[in-house]
């Protein structure tokens, strides 16, 4: 049953990915990209990663779709036909091939003696109940054991907002034009 769900999700993922690649209707592309994120969230859920699935659904399918829709109202709905596509294709193929080559060295998914399973994870799973005292181990890892990383992530989010604000926010451009 689980394999069937996996196959179905992968098939739909591929279909949506190809649609995003080939369509010139950017409004439809944004919608389908949201569906792509929702399908990814489904796959994370099948792998029992509820927190990751939740983030993917909220960020990928939710807020980034909304932001892209707003951006589309500024840029227009239809993609302009592009000219030379050979160099980008080569770059993408080379990057993809490198990534696939990199996966060859990865240990199989779910093997009990994989490096992530034997390093600090056993300590978190066995001791977080008494050390942190909350049931959700993911939250105790993110917020306490890995608190520095999460602080960094929050600063990254703030910096991204600050960057956009400095680029397109603040005082109107017209002041410069009147000089």
């Amino acid at each position: 049953m689980a394999e069937l769900i996996d196959v179905l999700l992968f098939a739909f993922l591929l279909a949506t990915a190809f649609y995003v690649l080939l369509s010139r209707d950017l409004l439809a592309v944004v919608m389908v990209a949201g569906i792509y994120s929702l399908l990814s969230a489904g796959m994370f859920l099948v792998m029992d990663a509820a927190d990751v699935a939740f983030t993917e659904a909220a960020v990928g399918a939710g807020v980034s779709t909304l932001l892209l829709l707003i951006a589309l109202t500024a840029t227009g709905r239809w993609e302009k036909p592009a000219g030379h596509r050979v160099v980008p294709l080569l770059v993408v193929l080379a990057t993809g091939a490198t990534l696939v080559y990199g996966t060859l060295d990865l240990p199989p998914i779910g093997k009990p003696d994989n490096p992530p399973q034997v390093h600090v994870a056993p300590h978190y799973l066995e001791r977080s109940g008494e050390e942190i005292g909350i049931p959700n181990v993911v939250t105790s890892v993110l917020a306490s054991y890995r608190g520095f990383d999460t602080l960094g992530e929050v600063v990254v989010v703030f910096t991204a907002g600050l960057g956009v604000f400095l680029l397109i926010g603040g005082p109107r451009r017209r002041r410069g034009g009147e000089k």
């Binding site: 939740f54 939710g62 707003i70 008494e130 608190g147 907002g161």
Partner: protein, 147 residues
């Protein structure tokens, strides 16, 4: 989003449904925020959900209406304030004699202190994420309106 405001003026179903849904989305965001210790979720997801409620409000009712609820200066302060709240918890932990971000010293026992610290830093995460996402949407929408 002046075009958005005019376009949505006649969309009765959209306006009524979003009026019903936005409070529910916000309530769900608060649930995710303060239930992250027990179920999936936490400050990041809650912030994004809260932001999407406000962005939907902006898309349906227009930028000006939403800016009355969430003024830009407030969002700017909150965006930095959440990250500062997070860092402040680390400093307070140092003042209590622990390491930076070592919440164990914040309560009478180490697990209690951990729970206090986690709730406060998750609140900081939620505040920064929500206000930054809404800020981004406002800036984009204003840019669209100026054209």
């Amino acid at each position: 989003m002046s075009a958005g405001r005019d376009a949505m003026e006649g969309q009765l179903i959209l306006r009524v449904v979003s009026k019903f849904l936005i409070p529910v989305i916000m309530l769900f965001a608060l649930y995710v925020q303060f239930h992250g210790e027990y179920g999936p979720g936490g400050g990041f997801q809650a912030g994004v959900i809260m932001a999407s409620a406000l962005i939907v409000h902006m898309l349906v009712f227009g930028l000006d209406e939403t800016r009355r609820v969430a003024p830009l200066p407030v969002l700017r302060v909150l965006s930095a304030g959440g990250a500062l709240l997070y860092g402040a918890v680390g400093i307070v932990a140092m003042l209590f004699g622990g390491n930076f971000l070592d919440y164990g010293v914040l309560g009478p026992t180490a697990p209690t202190g951990q729970v206090i610290g986690i709730i406060v830093i998750e609140l900081g995460v939620g505040i920064t994420v929500a206000s930054t996402m809404v800020l981004l949407a406002f800036l984009f929408a204003e840019r669209v309106r100026e054209r």
